[in-house]
Amino acid sequence: MNELRPYLSMMRPYRGRLLIGAALMLVTAASGIGLLALSGWFITATAVTGALLAAGVAARLDIYVPGGGIRTFAVTRTVARYFERVFNHDVVLRLLRDLRGQTFSRLANLSPGVLGQLRSGELLNRLTTDIDRLDGLYLRGLAPPLVAGLAILITVALLAIGSIAVALTAGLILMTAGALIGVRAWFSGQALTRRLASANANLRAQLVDHLRGLTELKAFGSVGYHRKRVDGLDEEERAGEERLAIEIATGEAILHGTLQLVAVGVLLTALSLFAADRISGAVAVMMPLAILALLEPLGVLPGSGLHLARARASAKRLDTRSTDGTYSSQETHPGDGDGDGSQSTEVTPGQAGDIRFESVTVRRGAGAKVLDELSLTVGEGEHVGIIGASGCGKSSLANLLAGWLVPDSGQVLVEGKPVKKQDFASHLARLGYLTQQTDLFSGTIAGNLRVACAEASDARLWSLIEVLALDEFVASCPDGINTWIGESGLEVSGGQARRLALGRVMLRDAPIVVLDEPLSGLDEATAAQVSSAIERWLTGRTAIVLGHEPSAIPSVDRLLQLRTGRLARI
């Protein structure tokens, strides 16, 4: 349960609402019990009285109080159920809001490597599923056992009118059965969900491979070979789903059976108590009916056990995902962000400092050196181009400079100060870094650019768009710079996205600049135009430009090649 603790504590601010929600659930359950029990009591009482009257015996029965009670229960059950659902879903959506916010800030502390992986559809997909499961933690996982327990208590109280011994025995059996079945669902649910989750992920990964590799598989004539693996995993996944569904259905059936048996037991006992003249006939009928009315609140226990198990698995996944970052939390400050970043500082050439890599070594995976005692000094205002094949460590170089990657030995200094000792936010504020990956947000073109500088004027954005040869494209968009792009908006090409990302960095106006493959996805003519724009903009800034070949970067003062972890002049 430890994994769930942070999510339980998230509910604390909503204590009041959660209590009201649970109370509404209880009122619903209680009205259901009351309706059936009182109805049974009422008709038995009327039957007995009616028989006495028919026999000529003077008898009286107050029919207005129970009649009114029955009508009240009927209405409260409906109304309470409706408001319970509306109210609780509102609370759940409030919790979802906090959950998203919290998950997001935790993810924000991940290392860029892990963040890069988050772009993959599979992880994102699982992230949403996990959050969805956790938002139901209260409504589907925690509240039902609580309400079931309280409903049993109400029934016990009703039974106690007839016989305290029967009430306690029945209550004990029901509590034990409910708990046993719920706990069983929780344990087997954990094992089964774990297996199912991995079967799911395997199937998905294999399917992605099958589709992505279809060209190769079809060409090589090995579709059938790979398909067998997909089919095998499909079998495994469905078997897992079946087992889980059967487990839950069996739990529910056993719980129902137990409840009915208890009801029959109570009925027979109550009838014998009646025969012994210890209780009235009406009470004897009310007692088993009160038990039968428990079917609704108790029936959901196996499901809620499973739900808790799933929520726990989700919490665990969210937790590992957000704690395996490589840099510690002290490097990120709570204030890491707004203000600092968006303020553009006017830069004059003399202000740009130098960059120094001092025998930096970075190891990856099984000890392979990505960077091997690499040293490099980029003077104030100097532009250095670094060429290297993909996977040779260029992006590591850039991430070292950003402080996202900590060298295994050696150090990186910017403006004479070691990167790792600098305040994270103010360091990033002086850095203009174009990452290899292009991130566009669904939003307007202007909004995407203003990520770099919230106050940038429309005129400033337009001049930037012109410089990046995007003017023709933007002018053709229905709403100009206010055109919605990205998901559920206009689609932009890879080259256009790249230029928007570049525009963002240029808007930033930082003295230290790192550009990782700035011209990727651009055709020759556009690349030439953007290239000269970059050259003009870089004047007065200290810059490192990375590319896979010399033609992939603008002209620079010094061109170096990165191979086997070291730099060499070309």
């Binding site: 109805s39 009327t46 059950r77 569904a245």
Partner: protein, 573 residues
């Protein structure tokens, strides 16, 4: 076809099992009636007739038996329907994967692979509830209330009338409420989708947000967006919950009305109709049946969202399937009406056609091709392309001019709109080195084996050695058995290219197609690739390379270039 019809069609294969599941459901319902009757009988005998419990041993034991049988029926029903649903999903998934395979890379190009994969996994899983819960319950929800109404009629027709009158009102009210909810739903759908997409969007772009110091702003945005999402969702939910409240209301009121009617009847206050004949047995029997009359309907209403989920999934899956259908239609139209048959069907007849290749022993020849991509029209015209065995053919041209399209056509994965392609006879296999090369989430060994599943381990290792895979695999913990790909060790571009090259080595394919093989390679890998190409050429294989890399010019025997959407031969200066 409507999604509901699609769901019904898919369920046809398991109809007997769904009927069996419904039968178990009906049996359980009949047991409920028996249980109510027995309880009422026991109560009546003891309370009214003064019988002793000992004399009622038989009904008591029968009651216990009924109570024990109910969970058995419940479990049997669950097992049968769960298995039926699994069968449907297996068939749908298998058929849709077949579809994806038929569509091929060209047909799938416009789709996001991750999205398609999630449709084939999650959307198909989303069909589950419809078959395993909703469908059997549909039968149960008709039969059981009917059986209960008939039973109630035998006891007291006025009480039964209360049930029967309220029953048709329920779907009516639910439909009214449902219509309102649907309209609200439609109105809100887009904005709700946009809001829920916002979170994922921000997560995807976290790196950028951090660089620009905008994480806190984004968090605020997510909170504000989620609040808006909540308000909009609640507007829909408030109406949606009304429909279940209607059911709840009828169930509760019917119980209350029947209890009060029976009570007054038993007291002798009601003197018309069957009321004077009411006994505690008939009264209690009807009262116990009243909630059970509504229960199957309520369960059906609970499973209604299973249906809605399945309908949504069905619509997506149908869309995917339709893509296949239109493509197949296009193809059959071209086959029937076009002046020349399409490439694929010609290739099937390749052995015969192969005899007519220029030199008679298995070259590759394309004539008068027009290549089309969906949504882009004709992208490339190929008057003639010839490649003899042992030749390396280079196709040059800037990116985006149709080089990959041409390779797809040569591999038989894209049917040309007109023209024909003759490939070497006998062996239709083609080695393909894509850009970037495809690396499956599997071991290095399995990745190489994808080129030729029947390859022996020796042949495989020899290929790995020739392509320079062994060189880096040696440094990996499990050598060739190290898992690579998205879920294993990440390979650099050069390493991936070597794996692809090993695949080509191990494959006996007579034609080898390469898409930008040297785009982002280190010098060492580039040498492996160039040496490999010449080795493959000496084996007599045909190599077609699409690239704009000048390095490859020297080693090509024949060159073509793409200019103004036409493939032209290049004559050496």
């Amino acid at each position: 076809m409507k999604p509901s019809e699609w769901l019904a069609r898919e369920g046809r294969s398991v109809t007997p099992r769904l009927r069996l599941a419904a039968l178990y459901g009906v049996i359980e319902g009949l047991l409920i009636i028996a249980q109510a009757g027995l309880i009422a009988w026991l109560v009546h005998q003891v309370v009214m007739a003064g019988a002793s419990l000992n004399a009622l041993l038989t009904p008591a034991i029968m009651l216990i038996l009924v109570v024990l049988l109910r969970p058995v029926a419940q479990i049997l029903r669950a097992r049968v329907s769960i298995a039926a649903s699994s069968t449907v999903r297996q068939r749908v998934r298998s058929r849709l994967i077949d579809h994806a395979e038929t569509l091929g890379p060209a047909g799938l190009a416009s789709r996001d692979t991750g999205e398609t994969a999630s449709q084939l996994t999650e959307q198909i899983s989303a069909l589950d509830g419809y078959y395993s819960r909703y469908r059997p319950q549909m039968t149960v929800a008709v039969v059981i209330p009917l059986a209960i109404a008939i039973t109630a009629f035998t006891q007291d027709w006025i009480a039964a009338l209360f049930l029967v009158v309220s029953a048709p009102l329920i779907p009516l009210f639910m439909a009214l409420v449902g219509m309102g909810a649907e309209r609200l739903n439609r109105d809100q759908f887009e904005s709700v989708a946009r809001l829920s997409g916002q979170f994922l969007d921000r997560v995807r772009g976290l790196t950028t947000l951090r660089l620009f110091g905008r994480v806190d702003d984004a968090t605020d945005g997510i909170l504000a967006g989620s609040d808006e999402y909540r308000q909009r969702s609640m507007r829909v939910l408030r109406v949606a919950f009304l429909s279940s409240a209607v059911l709840e209301f009828f169930a509760s009121v019917a119980i209350a009305v029947i209890a009060i009617y029976i009570g007054f009847g038993l007291l002798g206050y009601i003197e018309f109709g069957p009321a004077p004949e009411l006994t505690l047995f008939s009264g209690l029997f009807v009262l116990l049946l009243a909630p059970e009359f509504f229960q199957p309907l309520r369960t059906l209403a609970q499973h209604y969202h299973d249906r809605a989920t399945a309908l949504g999934a069905a619509e997506l899956l149908m869309g995917f399937e339709a893509e296949g259908e239109t493509a197949a239609q296009d193809r059959s139209e071209t086959e029937a009406g076009g002046p020349t048959a399409c490439g694929e069907s010609l290739m099937r007849a390749a052995p015969a056609a192969g005899a007519r290749t220029p030199d008679g022993h298995g070259g590759l020849r394309a004539t008068d091709l027009k290549l089309e991509r969906p949504g882009r029209g004709i992208v490339l015209e190929v008057p003639e392309l010839v490649a003899e065995p042992g030749e390396r053919v280079l196709i040059e041209g800037p990116s985006g001019t149709g080089k990959t399209t041409l390779l797809l056509a040569l591999a038989g994965l894209l049917s040309p709109s007109t023209g024909d392609i003759r490939r070497p006879p006998l062996d239709q296999r083609t080695a393909w080195l894509g850009a970037p090369p495809f690396i499956a989430s599997a071991t290095l060994r399995e990745n190489i084996r994808l080129g030729y599943p029947d390859a022996s381990d020796d042949a495989l290792e020899a290929a790995a050695n020739r392509a320079g895979v062994i060189e880096f695999a040696e440094r990996l913990p499990a050598g060739l058995d190290t898992g690579v790909g998205e879920r294993g060790v990440g390979l650099s571009g050069g390493q991936a290219q070597r794996v692809a090259l090993a695949r080509a080595f191990v494959s006996p394919a007579p034609v080898i197609l390469l898409d930008e093989p040297t785009a982002a390679l280190d010098a060492e890998t580039e040498r492996y690739v160039l040496d490999g190409l010449s080795a493959l050429a000496t084996e007599g294989r045909i190599t077609v390379i699409a690239s704009h890399d000048r390095v490859l010019r020297d080693s090509a025997e024949r060159r073509y270039q793409i200019r103004h959407a036409r493939l032209e031969p290049v004559v050496d200066e």
